[in-house]
Symmetry: C2
């Protein structure tokens, strides 16, 4: 009945970006974050994310983990903005059969993440819904004035680096759905680890960042697009966990999930070669591994190579429609 409908990015570009045209700090909604003045020395970095039961997390997931996921997907964006998080607002739409016990566990999850990330609740809303549990978090962070990172700003010749390992979450979702077996990967899907400590150390080192929420190639591609560049990614340099290596070795078609699946919440970064040492020092200080996996070029589009040969990239990006 609906005919062909625009995808998420098309919707944003065609309908929502024009509404933000006059807001300098919104970057035409191409950035993960909005930047607002905070004080003489800082910008406020703001990001809103919504997660829905059965869409963004498994129905029946433990409330502590749902709380963590709701908060952490936003903190991941703040990390990509180079921001230090400090507060959040929470909107909770509760389905008919909620219990006080569920709320108590959910709040314990929030409390644990408040301590872990140094953030505090500063407002929100609680409503009833006849539909699934729906949670919106708006997270606030600070970054030195004018120094916030975004997807735009990469230059031709910059290397593409990525933090941690890629693909665990997408493979973990397959594990949670019993399409493959791996408890370790499943946990990685259920409980994202945003790179908040690394993110704030990237200010002044990298030219552009994004977090890997839609999928490695999609999110690295967002940097290329926002920076009006092309990008070459070498598949064999993409860092995999030992567990991911094992399952991909046994079924190479899973590379599509690794490169195209979302929810890794690692950072992809455009790094000028002369800043390589600074990046490695920042990563060491943050206790995070970083790996170079490609290079930004003149032109446009994302090319994937396997053993030096150009390959058709898998489906690009996890789009929630």
């Amino acid at each position: 009945m609906a005919g062909r409908r625009p995808g998420q990015f098309e919707l944003i570009a065609r309908y929502f970006a024009p509404l933000a045209r006059d807001f300098m700090g919104a970057g035409d909604l191409k950035s993960d974050n909005a930047f607002l003045p905070a004080d003489a020395r800082h910008d406020l970095v703001v990001k809103t994310d919504t997660i829905v039961a059965g869409v963004h997390f498994l129905p029946g997931e433990r409330p502590e983990r749902i709380a963590a996921k709701a908060v952490r997907v936003c903190l991941s964006d703040l990390a990509a903005g180079g921001a230090t998080p400090y507060a959040y607002q929470l909107s909770l739409a509760l389905p008919p059969r909620w219990t006080e016990r569920w709320i108590a566990a959910f709040v314990r999850g929030l409390q644990a993440d408040q301590r872990r990330y140094g953030i505090t609740l500063c407002g929100g809303d609680t409503v009833a819904t006849p539909g699934p549990l729906t949670i919106t978090v708006t997270a606030f962070g600070r970054v030195p004035r004018g120094r916030g990172l975004s997807r735009a700003g990469a230059r031709a010749g910059d290397e593409l680096w990525v933090s941690g390992t890629i693909g665990d979450a997408a493979l973990g979702l397959l594990a949670a759905r019993h399409r493959l077996r791996s408890l370790a990967l499943e946990k990685r899907y259920r409980l994202p680890q945003p790179r908040t400590v690394l993110g704030r150390r990237l200010v002044g080192i990298v030219h552009a960042t994004a977090d890997v929420s839609d999928g490695l190639l999609a999110d690295a591609g967002h940097i290329a697009e926002a920076s009006r560049l092309g990008l070459v990614v070498e598949r064999e340099r993409v860092p995999l966990s030992r567990e991911a290596r094992r399952v991909v070795a046994s079924d190479p078609s899973l590379w599509a999930a690794v490169l195209g699946g979302g929810d890794d919440y690692e950072l992809v970064m455009a790094v000028p070669p002369r800043r390589r040492a600074a990046l490695l020092a920042a990563a060491r200080a943050a206790g995070v591994k970083v790996s170079p996996i490609g290079v930004f070029t003149a032109g446009e589009g994302v090319r994937l190579t396997v053993a030096g040969r150009r390959t058709r990239p898998p489906r690009m990006g996890y789009v929630h429609f």
Copy 2:
């Protein structure tokens, strides 16, 4: 199956307020708004509200009006904070059968309110939901540093004033549900008119404010509670529109809807008697009528009088559970 469950205010007090304990500007979540530093001369005023189809607006409502409602319920809180709105983030959870035509109309509604209120979109999220249309808006405004208004701060002897007329929205909801006939009242329910022009003029004049979203007695009671005072409201002084007067005269049991129903989006204010002239001047400049309807007293609780005799208040406040 769930046993007795806490109401919305109990949930907030017991579970969510402790999470905000360390955030000075959150006022223990007893305020409508959070206050964050904005620049040397201003605080940023932030408010998040969620509306759900079938709960907060009628299913099948026109998309332009849904957009207006989503934005305006937040702007009403900013007005109660004394803030001048300037930006908002929007999270849209779209049900399965959304159409591009619907989106286009919804965005036209946002565009019209951006012009009307001088605000601009600065970020957000768009996701799919198997449930009803769910919209979360986080609105941002500015107020002179340290001067933001909240529910706390009323003093014994302050008069309770209210803007505009009360009860139209609750009666309008009954009209929309065919329990009574009045197109004028129905429109008032469907399309709130937040008092943004009056709100910002109240800074330095009133001691405390709230917007009437839960119901006149409930929201005036929130001021009393946050200010640790009692409150007497005289029913015959509560300003009604001609249309509301007509329907209440024909069925006095509708007073319960007038005093206890929500969605008026007027402002209730605690005003020291010596500032009465300043309030009237501010209201005149804003083109809004204001009326004194009661007085704050030592003690606690809300008392309603009818012709000088104490009366049992109707069910207090529209709680969305």
